[in-house]
Symmetry: C2
Subunit: 219 residues, 2 copies
């Protein structure tokens, strides 16, 4: 470990930065209301580059990104959402669930960028280290990458919405990805039309945020 | 949506903040070298409170935290790691894998706080919204919470190491959690003894970080 001295001194993350970081956590929304304006040239590529800074098990970096640009493929994914959503609505009653679905659909229809994010379950990168007893940590690594992307995008005024009411196997087929890839998320990305500090599901009365201390125990 | 006007204006996340955020992403390490000093009183509780700001599917907030304080239970988890690790080492040859294991063990032995993080697979919160076709999004929500905790901790000078070479079912038994809870991560938490900008696995020559643009395609 003689190369310790090669690391520069860590920056001073002072109280002002910490406060702003909390603001970023607060203002990162699951975005559904997009302006139709395209992202600036190269903006998405710049953001994606940052994902290498996310933690991954054994440094496996199993994130795989597919920018969905073909209108046929976008339509197939929209149809996939519609089919899964009408089944999901069978579980619920009332206007709230319908509202939720209509907002998500509006987001899919207006967002200028669609990004499907996969995990490569067969990657050799990292030589399998750390995931033998918990192979799901490979997908978890991709989730860390997505959350980093989400925060970095929001800091630049770009919103991301995560679509999960979708058949993941169908998305993989539609996008013709390798058989070892599984869908982790389908993301809609663009400039937000509205700005909210509270989650949409809290605002429309679906589910409030709860105090985390309720979920902490000791053993 | 007439309550749009209730949201305050979003803060200005300027370039200086963005640069500092990238520094935070860069300096967030999977920590293995802890000082034995305890965290300041209430510090971990303060950090855990922030997890409510992480995204969760249908606002389900399925994160469940167990602070492992009993020395017997810590020992059981250490033994669990040792057993899984000696099996894992059977897969590898050479000094690097042994080094990795010894560093992780040192981290477990020195970190003042041990936190096991679970997902509650049966939570009613969020009424099941959004997770019918991809139930794994419930665990993914917990991962988002862990990454938020990791960043917030690092901003305060606190390091976190994620132990995944562990039998998750055994940890659940050891900690006597409800049957609907599954382990997502076992975290070691404390003040770092060293500061590095590069991942340990990169530094010791196990696995370099790769350019994310290699992992981006278009369809």
């Amino acid at each position: 470990m003689t190369d310790d001295e090669l690391s520069p001194a860590p920056p001073d993350f002072d109280r002002a930065f910490e406060d702003k970081l909390l603001e970023l956590f607060r203002w990162r929304r699951d975005e559904r209301h997009f302006k139709p304006d395209p992202l600036a040239d190269g903006e998405l590529d710049d953001l994606l580059k940052l994902v290498s800074l996310a933690p991954s098990v054994g440094n496996s970096q199993p994130w795989r990104f597919v920018r969905v640009v073909s209108s046929n493929k976008r339509k197939a994914i929209r149809d996939n959402f519609m089919a899964c959503n009408s089944e999901a609505l069978g579980d619920y009653h009332g206007e709230k669930a319908k509202l939720y679905a209509s907002l998500k659909l509006e987001g899919m229809d207006r967002a200028p960028e669609h990004l499907s994010v996969f995990v490569d379950n067969d990657t050799d990168t990292g030589q399998g280290l750390g995931r033998r007893t918990m192979p799901e940590t490979l997908a978890y690594s991709v989730v860390g990458g997505i959350y980093l992307l989400w925060l970095a995008a929001r800091a630049r005024g770009i919103g991301i919405g995560w679509v999960s009411i979708i058949d993941p196997v169908e998305v993989a087929k539609t996008l013709e990805v390798p058989p070892s890839w599984s869908l982790v998320a389908h993301l809609c990305i663009g400039y937000p039309e509205q700005h909210h500090i509270d989650p949409e599901l809290e605002r429309v009365g679906w589910q409030d945020r709860l105090d985390v201390s309720e979920f902490v125990t000791e053993r």
